[in-house]
Point group: D2
Chain length 248, copies 4
């Protein structure tokens, strides 16, 4: 028998992909699919060991309180967790110290690894820039992931006592050198046909290192969710971000 | 016997690469190397059929007047040709209608092809952006080549009656979407270790097309100069830009 | 009013994408959707001017005979056209010289352009290789498109009298240098998550040129079909391949 | 005062780049340049604290014996170290436990990081392939670095108990799927104009991760040598490979 999994938000677009992913995975056992209007007690009846929550900010806290109280581990991709909410979850978890809760803003393994590698590489290169590519319907530029990546690079450069990046640009059209995110130039490309892609480029004498992540469709978060499901029981307490689950 | 070639500006860094390129090429015969202080009549004595001029704006016009008058074909990479200068060269050439003169701002074949392909592709894609990458000592951003590429794309889009590029960006950090060159976003990356690289990206439903050009060292103009030398005798009159020599 | 379009094979996966594409396009007017069991005379009733055929080899010939006979232009993506079939279509078309018929094996504009540009660029570079990337369920390696691209490069190199590509490899693991397609190395990558991608790389002194095509999903043929619909009436007779419609 | 550095093999092409690199670096002090015919005792007179050895297999062992005996730390890029030689160096080092010796086959930081990241990422992706690109004068295919990278990926996949890579290829031209290095396909491209480049591609559901390293010229090992010089005194004993110096 595999790990017994319940999916909350099961009839949303993301939830459907999670449901399909759990169903297609041998060592996992889909025992409950819950959505608006369904009763959380179905999780108890179905003996769910782990739930995956891709719901909405208005219901996720209730879901977590219930699941933690009933000893069910939680893998959460729902957005809207600020410090207050995280503190609340931590308190619930502290009362059930055997329960693991993973809350991650990004389950795309390739994106999480790209950020982690960028941070590791940063101190060895004089130059670092980020280019992200998305479909033209995206509202913000640059993407949150790209900003986060740039901040990680800056942090690593500061910790290593590195000077500002070399750049002798004297004449520039406005915007040519990208957005300045803490000293790291970030460029946002909007391209029909593309989905979500990020490239981090590092350069030093005679060489460059490029770390590129491509998301080709909206199911790219599934493998990361599966990593979460398989490992959450071994990591009691609240954990924010997939990083530590990836051994980074 | 190969084509008899004289090199003007032979002891400059660029000239030295041209000299080496001509020497290493079987069907070409290096007969004269001229630099500041040398006598142009050496070209006559050496029976040069074609000259390559990588000199400076202050001497190039004298060189061309002399060579055209003596029936020597000219391949010119020296900068500083404005409309007046081109008109003057055209007048000289008109008096010696058998002489070919090629004046090109860019002899890097890969860069010239990239621009030409970009212009051909432009009308089939909703989105088009340009990213250029250079060493951090470059003074201008974006590069002249990138601006020129963007202008070519715009021209092709206008001729095809295309609307503006789709872009729903509502929240943006300043510079994130690049420099706006006639409606085409252009991004400039400055990276230690890099030389000169350009990427043109096109996107439409379900697909993208990327044309990328990399210059790895400062001799990348040599193959284009050789194309010029081999073909200039067959193209009498003044020709500006390597494009037409490449059959584009 | 836009061009009146009928879609044959309208309920297949490809046909559905065509139907959606025509519906979403202002200057086109979807007047008939036909599939197995429907009557072709619906096209007449609906006054279709152009049909798009993504059916199967067993019905496409009947469809074309009917449409050509009724003066309806045809844009055909159905596979299985050998010389005999093309000859038959040509004969039908010759009896209705005002009718245009476009039969294309590949409607992905980015792929067709990539092949055309590769052929144009080939004679200017000493080295040329092709890398294609597909999902791991693909049965053949390399892809037909990659083989076709390599053949186009070879043809251009031969026409220009170029020697074999430089390659001093003396010690090699079997397969390392790819498949030899007419002298052009072709490498096939099979990668979970990827869809269909092709990269053509050219190199000569100090520089390289890369032409890359990415198909992100199975609707990437739609823009090419729309180009066909809009132009087929202006190109009477049989035309094979989208190339000439792209002005290449 | 900076670290006092002596360079052995100082008049070779690689040594010259090291000499220039040390000279251009503020916190380092070039005190001796040694080559064939020079006396190693110059290092003592000059009070060298660290030596860099890019010599040849026939002299490097003598150099190391001398330097270790005199308490000088060693950063070594010379090739030809087999198990016996490493054991000998270890013995010498054990007699002078304060001395650090770094012997690294590859000082290109970007290449070393690419390999390390590939190994970290391997267990999260169903598919992994390596493509390396070099100038056409290279004798072996694939490169040693690419083989080493593939072996690292295989090791990580085995440790994680992963199955073979998915690949439904049924019809293949010989070589299309690359060289099989322990189950990881490795493709070698030979391209005029290119220098040394490696791309590691990973794929899983809906996404891919690409780690690419570009060496643009023959000085790309210098930053890695500088990392070695600055840290070798803090790492007594023999250390093989730059990895541990990069915190990997």
């Amino acid at each position: 028998m595999g790990i017994k999994v319940g999916v909350l938000g099961a009839r949303g677009r993301v939830g459907e992909a999670v449901v399909a992913g759990v169903r297609d995975t041998e060592d996992l056992d889909l025992v409950a699919t819950i959505d608006r209007g369904d009763d959380l007690h179905d999780l108890i009846t179905a003996e769910a060991e782990v739930i995956v929550d891709f719901t909405t900010p208005d219901v996720v806290m209730g879901n977590l309180e219930f699941c933690i109280a009933h000893g069910i581990h939680c893998v959460v991709g729902t957005t809207g967790f600020d410090k207050e909410r995280l503190a609340q979850v931590e308190e619930w978890a502290s009362q059930h110290p055997e329960v693991g809760v993973l809350i991650a803003p990004n389950f795309a393994i390739s994106a999480v690894l790209a950020m982690a590698f960028a941070q590791q590489a940063a101190k060895f290169f004089e130059s670092a820039e980020v280019i992200e590519f998305h479909h033209p319907n995206k509202l913000d530029a640059p993407s949150g992931t790209a900003v986060h990546t740039a901040e990680g690079i800056t942090e690593a450069r500061r910790a290593a006592g590195m000077p500002a990046q070399p750049d002798k640009t004297a004449q520039s059209l406005p915007g040519a050198r990208g957005a300045d995110v803490d000293g790291v130039p970030v460029h946002a490309v909007r391209m029909s046909g593309m989905v979500a892609h990020e490239e981090v480029i590092f350069g030093t004498q005679g060489q460059s290192l490029t770390i590129r992540q491509d998301s080709y469709d909206r199911t790219s978060f599934v493998p990361g969710v599966l990593v979460g499901i398989r490992n959450v029981a071994d990591r009691p307490g609240l954990c924010v971000g997939l990083d530590s689950y990836l051994g980074l």
